[in-house]
Symmetry: C2
Subunit: 190 residues, 2 copies
DNA sequence: AAAGGATGTTCACATAGATTAACAAAAAGC
DNA sequence: GCTTTTTGTTAATCTATGTGAACATCCTTT
């Protein structure tokens, strides 16, 4: 059983040795190379993935063929197309690795089995999702009430570790602006 | 025990008669008049509220004093400042009734007690929040990839029942545009 | 070291949507 | 029924951000 994942789970719930064993039997560790896809738009999202090491972006291609970055995931973050995972219908998003990335994966069937065998996991995932939901709402609010420059500064403050690792044009996409405009903002800040 | 709430919960989990009794002991039914606040920015959000009848808006006032509508809630929707409810810290948002509104409320303490006594509720709220999270992510995506007109059309299609009940300028605020620009879009559509 | 691709910058011009202000229409109060 | 308040519209002007194209850097790979 991966220690990163285990200590992450233990922040929220307590598990017995036996439960940990059950859990570990249903988690699959997998490593993807830079550029590989964990989830592909149009295919069913098979796993919820916990990032052990590396970095991935979630994005989609709109009707005009433009790429939009929805989120990034680094160590100790979860990534998936949750809508697709829940309903087992085709994904709206892609998840692609920006570096060599190792993840711990839960399949849909495994997770349902685990919920039945370790009811505490319902609590664990409820808490995780609650936090993600709150963060998501805050992002909506920021997008409406802040300028591009303010959003960029906020991003830098909140995700400095991500900012160091991913190219500017992906950050621009995440912020909902063009790379040229981000470049202009960065120039102004010096 | 309110029938709306009960049948809503039964869509996701099965409860015994005894569990329903426990549940009903911890739910408070309350009616607010038009204009009253269920949650106030700056105060701790005491309840998660399930709307039985009526309509409410969630909004916040930014540093320039402008109001931004974050979401609406009508029959069978939940409303709260979830971030504040979870952490029991001051709320970022207001929830104000747009009509006379009756809600079923769960306090933080009640809910923790209920989770302990009816573990299935963890599952129920996990599922609810997962759906809310997915919807929230989709909204972020729409805000980035669609024009104001497209967002308005999408809103009309998805929330026709809300569109009928709330003034245009609140819809404009929800969409992140001015009421004047929404008016222009509406004129174009005829 | 040269060549090629990925990434970042600058600038001129275009546009979606904001702002201000005036007015129209509908709803609520008296 | 008339007045006041709330809600919705129109139009002129302004601004934040997008678009396209050219160029500059910086990694890779050979």
């Amino acid at each position: 059983m991966n220690t990163n994942l285990l200590s992450y789970i233990k922040r929220y719930i307590n598990l017995t040795e036996q439960e940990i064993t059950v859990l570990s039997e249903h988690v699959k560790i997998r490593t993807y190379l830079k550029g590989q896809y964990i989830v592909q738009q149009g295919e069913v999202c098979k796993y919820e993935s916990f990032v052990i090491s590396g970095c991935a972006k979630t994005f989609f291609i709109d009707t005009e063929g433009n790429e939009h970055v929805v989120m990034f995931a680094i160590e100790n973050w979860w990534t998936a197309d949750l809508g697709s995972f829940i309903t087992q219908e085709p994904a709206d998003y892609n998840v692609q690795c920006l570096e060599k990335t190792t993840v711990a994966q839960f399949s849909h069937e495994s997770l349902e089995l685990l919920y039945a065998q370790i009811p505490q996991l319902e609590r664990f995932f409820r808490i995780i999702i609650q936090k993600a939901y709150v963060a998501s709402q805050k992002r909506i609010v920021r997008n409406f009430s802040l300028t591009a420059k303010e959003r960029y500064l906020n991003f830098r403050k909140q995700y400095r570790d991500i900012e160091q690792r991913v190219p500017q044009y992906l950050i621009a996409s995440y912020l909902g602006i063009t790379k040229q405009f981000l470049s202009k903002i960065r120039a102004e800040l010096i």
